[in-house]
Symmetry: C2
Amino acid sequence: MAIRYPNGKKYQPNELAPAKPPQKTVSYGNRGMSLEQDLNDTNTYYLTHERAIIHKKPTPVQIVGVDYPKRSSAKIKEAYFKTPSTTDYNGVYQGKYIDFEAKETKNTSSFPLSNFHQHQMTHMEGVLKQGGIVFVIISFNTLGEVYFISYEHFKPFWQRMLDGGRKSVTLQELRQVADLIPYGLNPRLDYLNIVHKHYF
Amino acid sequence: MAIRYPNGKKYQPNELAPAKPPQKTVSYGNRGMSLEQDLNDTNTYYLTHERAIIHKKPTPVQIVGVDYPKRSSAKIKEAYFKTPSTTDYNGVYQGKYIDFEAKETKNTSSFPLSNFHQHQMTHMEGVLKQGGIVFVIISFNTLGEVYFISYEHFKPFWQRMLDGGRKSVTLQELRQVADLIPYGLNPRLDYLNIVHKHYF
């Protein structure tokens, strides 16, 4: 749990280290700023409309050093990113446990499975066994297309890679088992609509 | 969300800032190191025995500055504690969403409600409305007693305070609506046993 590594995660501007140049923002049609922002906005919509309570988990960090310059503020002066042991999003919808991971790619024809880690797959497998609703959201940023794939449908692609097969999922393969999440005004990405259709 | 404050949270030794002297550890009977450690151990037991998947959420921090000295490690050099907008623990048990907050006190006769924030109460109210299972675990460290109180039973004490009444819950009041979670060897604090009894 003490592995120190750059987790490759995209930060929102206010969380971004100034050391790293900001990524170029590409805008296609009504696509949002980033998948994370769109999902956060969507989850806020769900929260305020009492449709569901789903939050992104904080980025796990190992805190090593803290300064207490004043009584009212503590400054963390040394910390490291930890490997997340779960997926990023979870919460509750109509009493049921909801759990998902969201990833984006600039690729236009396939999704590289290197975006996932084995421990995340293990976590999702466990959630499935516990009767939770677990899925993956994949955004093809360049195409402006966001897909919903149940873990049950995503798992065989991972297994194929473990068995020595291809290390990615082609867009064509994905489309056969995934639902396109249409961009909307509010909520931005109404993935619960798809959850409801499939599981309720 | 950018409030910078020391959140008063007890860190495990490996997360503790050397600047702060370690708290004196008091050992009574078979009490554990700390409530957080006991709950983490319990959750690990549940995970490995496939009884439930429940995790403590990472402490939310606002990352301001990061150094990238090597390709393989990123060092956070400036960050601040953020106010958590939810409870600390959540997960899934038999398909149902589980959500709880855990607090400890050194008091021996009452639990100060200042341990909770309004936003946590709001979150728990929302979870209840969504049909989730939501509760509070309170440890009286000096007594070595840990209690399970459903949010439904905890809420009236909070409301009483909002209405101008006392700012704490007496141990006697608590015992009338709470279940004692007995300390065990493994799992340390089998709170799911109580969840199962009340909700399944």
